[in-house]
Amino acid sequence: MSACGRLLRSAARSCRALAAFTSSRRPLRTSPSGRAFAKELFLGRIEKEAVFPFPEVSQDEFDEISQFVGPVEKFFSEEGQRSTVSARDSAWDLRASVDSRRIDLEGKIPNETLEKLKSLGLFGMQVPEEYGGLGLSNTMYARMGEIIGLDASIAVTLAAHQAIGLKGIILVGSEEQKAKYLPRLASGEHVAAFCLTEPASGSDAASIQTRATLSDDKKHFILNGSKVWITNGGLANIFTVFAKTKVDEADGSSKDKITAFIVERDFGGVTNGKPEDKLGIRGSNTCEVHFDNTQVPVENVLGEVGGGFKVAVNILNSGRFSMGSTVAGMLKKIIEMTAEYACTRKQFNKPLSEFGLIQEKFALMAQKAYVMESMAYLTAGMLDQPGFPDCSMEAAVVKVFSSEAAWQCVSEALQILGGSGYMRDYPYERMLRDSRILLIFEGTNEILRMYVALTGLQHAGRLLTARVKELKHGNVATIMETISRRLWDTLGRNVDMGLTGKLGAVHPSMADSAVKLEENVYYFGRTVETLLIRFGKTIVEEQMVLKRVANILINLYAMTAVLSRASRSIRSGLCNHDHEVLLANTFCTEAYYQNLLALSQLDKYSPENVDEQIKKLSRQILEKRAYICAHPLDRTS
């Protein structure tokens, strides 16, 4: 079987020359403009060049991807299982193929499956080729994620290994560190884990307790502390550990700062607790990891001493975009399975598929899958642009949207099956449990919404400083201009940002949707400006406002992605492009009205804005720490 992996890797190498060619061609396709798309939305602008046309892979890249995808897909799908049974070495392969049900029940991925994953090269997908990995681009990585996502436990194990576990070495590791660790990590001989969370420290870096002190001979750091909820904690040999160290400042004082370390299990003093009992992704290994006087050589500092915070942020930001395609893969599979059921199961002499409320669910699932797929590949395409563009905001948007869509769609799929869906005989309850974690890990959705909104507002706020200052100081010209613009807006402005029309970026069949997007973007820009004038830098405390801002942004990015993708499909004549156009138009209409609602909720005096009531309600409840209403049966006499 390892022959297959070798084959894959040689295929990858043979494609490398072509890839070099394609990468040199890439800049020609899209403009090298470094301006991020999502940030510009906050100013009410659409950075067309960044998102139109939809990123496309060349024929050679496409062939390369197909080569990788084939065997992996076979391995993950049940067809693969059946065909291998009939094939030569059946017994071993049967055990090795993915049996998600068994993984969930036993709470462990069987060793044969892990070996097979390693031989397929899946442990080193993004490791550069010179270190023995597959060296996949972000787009190709997203494509692979689509298949791996069929089993959540495996997806999480692989993601913890390479999206965060060894990512630090790729991003900031020195040449020596790369040469020393990456080859064995890429082959899967060593498994990596990312150790950041502590009992007292989730998102708060200041409360990290793990400490690394420099030994007297200045050759080692002595690492002490505990980390919790470490995925792969029991399997891993290489840990990326974040700990506080004393750093001497320029002015002679010393300060506690976070430093990242590469820690091998063989350094000694590394122990792990027993695997946690979880709701979902039960096959992945999550446990506590303790470091007791672990001696870490100074060469193993990742990045600079005291520079761990930036390393952590970079790693976390870089790993998020792939969730979109991973979830999309799972959703596509679910749609297939539930559609089969809905068309065969009969009630009142009619198949379920003829009932409107069932049809609605399929439309919803397809729409969500389409949107997240579009966003994921658009973002992956942006990330593959030369010059390491910063797409962390877009990645966060993809993560938030796809995780919530996953939870909603799996729940709807379970609903289609009714009582059967609730039974363990069907995979839906497992998928439901598995998908719940998506909203929590890699930054909870709440936190990512804050990130999206605040990053964008920071960008817009800087550029608007001059205007806001003039307004606040009562500059008559600026005030008059603002007022006249507001007046013009209320009279019904025609917003045109050039997405439609002759030779517009969006195909005419979606012109209506494009106009809706333009209108939303324009008024979003206005609202952001108003919010900045109202709250200034104290907007950080207005979390409910920020949530709405983030929600609008997510919708805007999603609308852009589907319009871009559907336009490309219809122009290049892909099959079923009319279906895509329909999906895009439906989604855009829905998102447009959602945005209008959210925009009006952001308006200070609108009746839709109930933020103050919500705050008061929660304050009353939290004061008493209980539900304080009288029982409906209570009497006063």
């Binding site: 708060d204 870096a205 200041a206 952590a312 942020v313 936190i447 990130y451 706020g461 006063t636």
Partner: protein
């Protein structure tokens, strides 16, 4: 307020209306004038006994014709409901025409507290049942217009008023009895309707509800008081000292007088604040301050410090590398607009932090020092902080403002001794640290 007070002074049937109208809200209104007029008219008698002084103002002082029915005073035997019921029955049997029932009812109302029945609705029903039925009902328009049988109606209102003062809610049976006795358009009926309207609305108006009856155990009572003082629900109540149990074998020795109870409360935030407190700056034990729990008064002490002078204050800065996921502060040059600044413009006087509170059985320094010792177990830093006692003597008015005391020497009665004691105490504290 003044008009409420004026109404009872109008004598005659309007007085009843006033009493019925003023309702629960005006029960604190001094009713002394009314009582005098009333007494003059109905039954002059000896000065009210202390036990009945707080009962209904409409109850006239006794001519006491039926006193013997309730037996000799409370010393003789157990005063319970059975005896009360027996007395009321005895009145009914002794006197088929119920002669003097108004006086009897007034007497019974006064006696209710002795029998512990002031919150017993059935007992009130028993009294209302003493009224002869149908006799006092108004039968014509004119009878309804003028008060029919004013003395009896007044008595009926007095029963209801006593119910009201003790928070007893009338029910269907009360209504039935009143209808039978006074009829639909009588003053007691109106009083009943008003009670029913307002009682149900005011019943849950108190944001700090207390159990009824209040616990007699001083420890539990102190716990209730401290919970009211400290809004933080994470705060922990600690009993630092329980009173020595009364020794049953040797009854001559009452519980040690120098072992009063000490109950304290401290929230985690207060504990944290005390941990951060600069040991060079003293903390103060101040008190006693009164706290009323329904009809009981407890006194509490606080452990507090003076506010930090501005030059010592360190502005807490959010370090830049704090949040792994999103920026904690925006790098912008402008703040909140004036139209969105919801803070009221209040002149705030900075008060020092309060670190802990306690309710103790005694208010002397020794007891409070024991509390501070107990606090040191959970707050190790307290051992190194000098503690000053600023206690108001129990005879004087309790401290109302600690800021003015900050400039004065402590107000404990013999200043030189007090000083010495404080110094001793400080030494002791530091020695322990």
């Amino acid at each position: 307020m003044s008009w409420v007070r004026a109404i009872p002074q109008i004598r005659g049937w309007r007085g009843i209306v006033g009493a019925a109208f003023s309702g629960a809200a005006s029960s604190q209104v001094p009713r002394q004038p009314l009582r005098h007029i009333h007494l003059g008219a109905a039954a002059p008698g000896p000065a009210p006994t202390p036990s009945s002084s707080s009962s209904s103002s409409l109850v006239p002082r006794p001519p006491v014709p039926h006193e013997e029915l309730f037996g000799p005073g409370s010393e003789a035997g157990p005063q319970d409901k059975a005896r009360f019921v027996q007395a009321v029955r005895a009145f009914g049997q002794r006197n088929a025409h119920r002669r003097g029932h108004v006086d009897f009812i007034y007497l019974a109302l006064r006696k209710m507290r002795d029998f512990g029945l002031e919150r017993d609705r059935a007992a009130y029903h028993l009294l209302l049942d003493v009224f002869p039925k149908d006799v006092f009902r108004a039968r014509s328009f004119l009878q309804r217009l003028f008060v029919h049988y004013p003395r009896q109606q007044e008595c009926g209102v007095a029963v209801l008023e006593q119910m009201e003062n003790h928070g007893v809610m009338p029910n269907r049976e009360t209504e039935f009895l009143l209808l039978q006795v006074f009829g639909k358009h009588s003053h007691p009926m109106r009083k009943l309707l008003r009670m029913r309207l307002w009682f149900s609305r005011f019943r849950a108006a108190n944001p700090f509800p207390l159990p009824r009856p209040l616990p007699r155990d001083p420890l539990r009572l102190a716990g209730l008081g401290l919970r009211r003082l400290e809004p933080d629900l994470s705060a922990r109540i600690t009993v630092y000292q329980t009173p020595a149990p009364p020794d049953s074998t040797d009854s001559t020795l009452s519980p040690e007088p120098d072992r009063p109870h000490i109950v304290g409360i401290q929230s985690p935030e207060q504990q944290e604040a005390l941990g951060r407190h600069d040991p060079a700056r003293p903390v103060f034990v101040e008190g006693p301050f009164p706290l009323w729990l329904r009809d009981q008064c407890v006194h509490y002490h606080v452990l507090r410090a003076d506010p930090l002078p501005p030059e010592y204050r360190v502005a807490e800065e959010t370090p830049e590398e704090r949040n792994l996921y999103y920026p904690m502060q925006l790098d912008l040059e402008y703040g909140r607009g004036p139209w969105d600044d919801y803070e009221f413009d209040i002149d705030e006087v900075a008060e020092g932090p309060v670190f802990a509170m306690c309710i103790a059985g005694a208010r002397d320094q020794a007891t409070l020092a024991r509390w501070v010792q107990g606090l040191q177990e959970t707050n190790p830093t307290l051992a190194g902080i000098p503690v000053l006692f600023r206690l108001a003597s129990s005879t004087r008015e309790p401290l109302d403002s600690s800021s003015e005391l900050a400039e004065q020497p402590p107000p404990s009665p013999p200043p030189p001794e007090g000083r010495e004691e404080q110094e001793d105490n400080r030494r002791q504290q530091q020695g322990q640290g």
